[in-house]
């Protein structure tokens, strides 16, 4: 019963953050600000979705003692960790590539990287 409520809460939080990420993609002006919304908030949302799976698998394992639910929990945890690592490195690569390609940050109040000679 408690596990069901927890799973539901995690799924709701995850979906809300994923929706906000998409909203940010539509509202923000340029590639850098859009990346804040799409890469970070969707990672946070996906983390909560993964957490829902982990809670679900753990509650079933405690109920039945079946080994396959341990596999479910561990594989989801590995997927979440891989998502976090690839997300950080990937968004850094996109931002660096965009700046090297000459895209200026829109509405920027300051651009210290643009002042550095290449």
């Amino acid at each position: 019963m408690i596990a069901e409520i927890l799973v539901l809460a995690c799924l709701v939080i995850g979906t809300v953050f994923n929706c906000l990420g998409i909203l940010g993609l539509l509202r923000f002006p340029d590639v850098y600000t859009r990346m804040h919304a799409t890469t970070k908030m969707t990672t946070f949302g996906s983390f909560f979705t993964a957490l829902a799976v982990i809670v679900y698998g753990a509650s079933l394992f405690l109920g039945t003692g079946d080994g396959q639910y341990v596999t479910l929990v561990l594989h989801t945890a590995v997927a979440a960790i891989a998502l976090a690592m690839t997300n950080a490195i990937g968004s850094h690569a996109i931002a660096r590539g965009a700046h090297r390609a000459g895209i200026k940050p829109a509405q920027a109040v300051v651009d210290r990287l643009g002042e550095v000679p290449p």
């Binding site: 953050f17 906000l20 990420g21 909203l23 940010g24 509202r27 923000f28 340029d30 850098y32 600000t33 990346m35 804040h36 919304a37 970070k40 908030m41 990672t43 946070f44 080994g67 396959q68 639910y69 341990v70 596999t71 561990l74 594989h75 590995v78 976090a84 690592m85 997300n87 950080a88 490195i89 968004s91 850094h92 931002a95 660096r96 700046h99 940050p105 829109a106 509405q107 920027a108 109040v109 300051v110 651009d111 210290r112 990287l113 643009g114 550095v116």
Partner: protein, 175 residues
Amino acid sequence: MLAYIITFILALLLYLLFTAGSGTLWLWSPSELIAGVLLALLTAAVAGKTLCRGKDYRMANPLRLVVLFLYLVGPFLVEVVRANLDVAYRVITGRIRPGIIRVPSGMKTDFSVFLLANSITLTPGTITVDIDEGTNDLFIHNINVPEGWETRPAVKAEELFSLANLPAWIRRIAE
């Protein structure tokens, strides 16, 4: 030699993680355990030199790994949650003040710079755009540059995080 042992242990742990729940010997079946040891030996023989190229084994210390885990579930998680709520507020209201600022990291080893840059990137609202490899300065795209920061030539890394002192934690882990 140490490099091969570290690679063997890492490969074995990863294999055990992926096959947990396959049998009754604790959580693994005997055939999976034997296959895991053989495959880990093969991985160590092939990739041992490549994985630990830096000849820097301080992260193999279990105490540092424990502190790294505590850092990830403690102060780092708090900062990520706070920053997510902040960016959610900016998505809804549209109040942004973007800009790229220079942040001297003050880190000495490659791994600590890597950890700090990725911590900054995973915190919403800040992305590491580039790194000055000579001085280890980071260039951070900030979605909301606070008033007054745009005139300062450099901003300390500690000031990016308002709730916990993440650079001090990273120094404790990796230096």
